[in-house]
Amino acid sequence: MKITQQTTENTLTLSLDGELDASSSVLLDTELTKPEVLDYRKVLIDCQRLNYISSAGLGVFISHLQRFQDANVKLVFFNMQEKVHNVFEILGLDTLMTIVPSEAEATAI
């Protein structure tokens, strides 16, 4: 799992590369827990290279969901592969989280 960061004035983009399983989700959790994350208005997650997400990986997003909402930070997923999207959908997360097809749409939000 590789996580790369990209920042603009009020947007933080995290690109996930590889499989988000129990061990790599710790990395992601460390990234999202940093207090400066809440300084942005939007946190975009680029899922283009995300091949797999385990329940532990989903748990990381779920645990930060409320925190982001309280701080009024938008969490947006884009470029999600079909099978990963399926996992979000089965769990019902597609109704709670913003998942858009492309980066352009993500930035437009």
């Binding site: 129990a22 989903l58 748990g59 969901l65 089965i90 769990l91 019902g92 997360l93 109704t95 709670l96």
Partner: protein
């Protein structure tokens, strides 16, 4: 070997008989009066009797078990000095007695003279045989097969030569010299085998030197006796007897002398040998401690004592470093204040915890200012690749007292110690591990008891079930509950994560299921006595809010089948979609309904995210419910089993019985993920609805 044993049995009486013949013959020679009456025996009888006696004594001695016990050389020599030493003393005593009698009555009894002579002859030969075979044990100590072969040849050669001398046959001069020289060289070569001397310590060596001197003295006594009376024997024994006896002395005396010299010249080096021995023993002791599984404390103490003993340190201490702090573990003839002072000094010089040898401490100004009486210092750290265990400090008063060997020896000691310590820690860890495993086993059996063993049986449906945890305990669960009014509740679920945490939540979920599925006595309608699935999910979500950690969630699906009316209602809380075979449409499809997992939203707004679905089933319909461990199982190329393949499996097997369908799916799954590790718990339930049995309608 019966012959060999028979021979051994007759040797002793035979030898005794030979000696008696010899005695008779000598006495007859000494007493002309008796000889006149009985007749003087021919000389060859005497010689033959003597030869047989010698042969008998030597053979007897040869056939006795090896007198050397282990490496108890001193014991062997002590026996040799005590036994034959007594013989020599007896010889001297007899001779003195005889002299005394002769002094009292000059020219008197020649019979006494002859008797004493024969007895002494016997004693001497026994002494020689004893000494000879004691030497054999020493020569052949840890010998090569070649040396053992050489020894046999030496015995044969010596025996032959002796027999020649006995019978008074002397080969022509050059041949005799050649043979004698050959025997001498052979004897010299044999005497060179003094390997045993190396195994003695200083005290033993001194003992051995004195015992060999005593032995030589005994030999000397016998030799002197026979030399002294040599001229006088003409009348009682053939002359050749004496030259034979004197030659016998040669080897015994030579070996004792050679042994004496070797031992003597080994004395100065014995210190070095002993030190090396001490080092080896120290190492052995340390190694043995590992197997005994003693405490760390004892291992450190062992190291400390062995190190002091081996390098003969005047003062020493051992620093032990634990996770929290460094402390002085052991001290030897040095005060804590001095230890502290030297340690601080070394730390100032950045020399703590590294391998360091200083043979000229007074030369260092820092050390001089401490005003301590030490000249040399060794610091030997104890460390492994993983961590530091402390350091060993050795001090000596003299300068230039330590050498490279000390350093490398201490290095061996410390690494051995570190090995022991880590070994001990491993043992402790593995015991701990064993206990955890044992507890997991218990947890596993407890969890096993939470999974229903008896599947509900009725005419309206059949059920096949399968559950397998990836680890000892898992997070998957399913349960059944019969409700009044021909209804059956089926719950399936999966706690995020695996292992113990998941197992706890799974047990919790089962508790919640049984608690919520209780009849509500206040309900007006029969249908409202039990919560509908969506209601159940919101209540469960609320119950879980406070006990599920933030990043955990549970997916579940609850089905309530009403088989009186042929329908079911279900709610899916983020759980895998239900796979369904419609017998009328002859079609397999997933119920793609919406529904959020439990524990994701932890307030009342959850109710908006969960819905009930109603469905009327027909006989022959098949419902497959499962956990993600099934569809996310990995194949050889890391691809997932997937919903599509599961769907195809049902398309091919829907007509079978529920248990057979389940088995077919599992077979296909196992085939697919053959050789791959199991990532997640797997649960699979197959429910097949059937037409009512004819009698049920009557």
């Amino acid at each position: 070997m019966p012959f060999h044993q028979k021979l051994k049995a007759i040797i002793l009486p035979f030898t005794l008989l030979s000696w008696l013949i010899l005695l008779t013959s000598t006495l007859l020679h000494a007493s002309p009066a008796a000889a006149a009456r009985v007749g003087l025996p021919p000389e060859w009888v005497t010689l033959l009797a003597q030869a047989f006696f010698v042969l008998g004594v030597f053979l007897h001695q040869r056939s006795r078990p090896d007198p050397l016990r282990g490496t108890d050389f001193v014991g062997l020599l002590r026996q040799l000095v005590l036994g034959p030493g007594l013989l020599a003393a007896a010889c001297v005593g007899l001779h003195l007695f005889e002299r005394f009698v002769q002094y009292q009555q000059p020219g008197a009894d020649r019979l006494l003279f002859a008797g004493v002579y024969t007895i002494n002859l016997g004693l001497f030969i026994v002494f020689l045989a004893y000494a000879n075979y004691a030497w054999r044990s020493l020569v052949l100590f840890r010998s090569t097969p070649r040396l053992r072969r050489d020894w046999v040849w030496f015995e044969i050669l010596l025996g032959t030569t002796l027999l020649f001398r006995l019978f008074g046959w002397t080969p022509p001069a050059p041949v005799a010299y050649f043979i004698l020289g050959g025997v001498a060289v052979f004897g010299f070569y044999m005497s060179g085998n003094q390997k045993w001397v190396a195994y003695l310590n200083r005290r033993q060596k001194w003992e051995v030197v004195f015992m060999q001197l005593t032995l030589l003295l005994c030999l000397g006594v016998f030799t002197l006796y026979f030399l002294r009376i040599g001229q006088d024997t003409q009348s009682v024994a053939p002359e050749s007897q004496h030259s034979f006896l004197l030659l016998m002395v040669f080897f015994a005396g030579f070996y004792a002398l050679a042994g004496l010299l070797v031992t003597f010249f080994n004395l100065p080096t014995v210190g070095v040998f002993e030190q090396k021995r001490e080092e080896i023993l120290g190492l052995q002791r340390l190694t043995q401690l590992i197997q005994k599984g003693q405490s760390e404390e004892e291992v450190y103490q062992m190291l400390f004592e062995a190190a002091i003993q081996t390098v003969e340190a005047d003062a020493a201490w051992l620093d032990i470093e634990t996770d929290e702090a460094l402390h002085t573990g052991q001290r030897h003839v040095i005060s804590e204040a001095h230890v502290e002072a030297i340690r601080t000094l070394l730390t100032d010089y950045n020399l703590g915890q590294i391998e360091y040898l200083n043979n000229d401490l007074p030369n260092s100004s820092g050390f001089r200012s401490l005003d301590l009486p030490y000249g040399s210092l060794i610091v030997m750290p104890m460390r492994s690749a993983k961590r530091h265990y402390g350091a060993l400090y050795m001090l000596k008063e003299q300068r230039q007292s330590f050498d490279r060997e000390n350093l490398s020896l201490l290095q061996t000691f410390t690494s051995q110690t570190v090995l022991s310590i880590e070994n001990l820690q491993l043992v402790t860890a593995s015991l701990q591990n064993e206990r955890v495993k044992e507890e997991l086993k218990i947890a596993s059996s407890v969890q096993d008891s939470l999974i229903p063993k008896d599947l509900p049986i009725d005419d309206w449906f059949e059920i096949g079930s399968h559950a397998l945890a990836a680890k000892e305990v898992g997070g998957d669960f399913y349960d059944f509950l019969h409700l009044p009014g021909k209804r059956l509740a089926i719950l399936i679920g999966d706690v995020s994560g695996k292992g113990i945490t998941a197992a706890f939540h799974m047990a919790q979920m089962k508790g919640i299921f049984h608690a919520l599925m209780q009849e509500n006595p206040l309900a007006k309608d029969d249908r409202e006595k039990f919560p509908v699935p969506s209601k159940f999910m919101s209540m469960a979500n609320r119950a879980l809010t406070h006990c599920l950690e933030k990043s955990s969630f549970i997916t579940a699906a609850l089905y309530i089948v009403d088989y009186e009316h042929g329908g079911f209602v279900f709610a899916r809380a983020g759980h895998c979609h239900t796979l369904y075979y419609h017998s009328i449409k002859e079609e397999v499809s997933y119920f793609r309904t919406a529904g959020l997992g439990l524990g994701i939203i932890r307030n009342d707004s959850y109710e908006k995210h969960i819905k009930n679905q109603f469905y009327d089933y027909n006989p022959g319909d098949v419902m497959v419910i499962y956990t993600d461990g099934i569809v996310e199982a990995r194949g050889a190329d890391q691809e997932e089993y997937g919903e599509e393949r599961l769907k195809q499996m049902l398309e091919h097997t829907y007509y079978l019985e529920a248990d057979a369908i389940k088995q077919q799916i599992l077979n296909d799954l196992n085939e697919f993920s053959k050789g791959q590790p199991m990532h997640d718990d797997q649960t699979l339930l197959v429910i097949k609805f059937k037409a009512a049995q004819p009698e049920a309608n009557i």
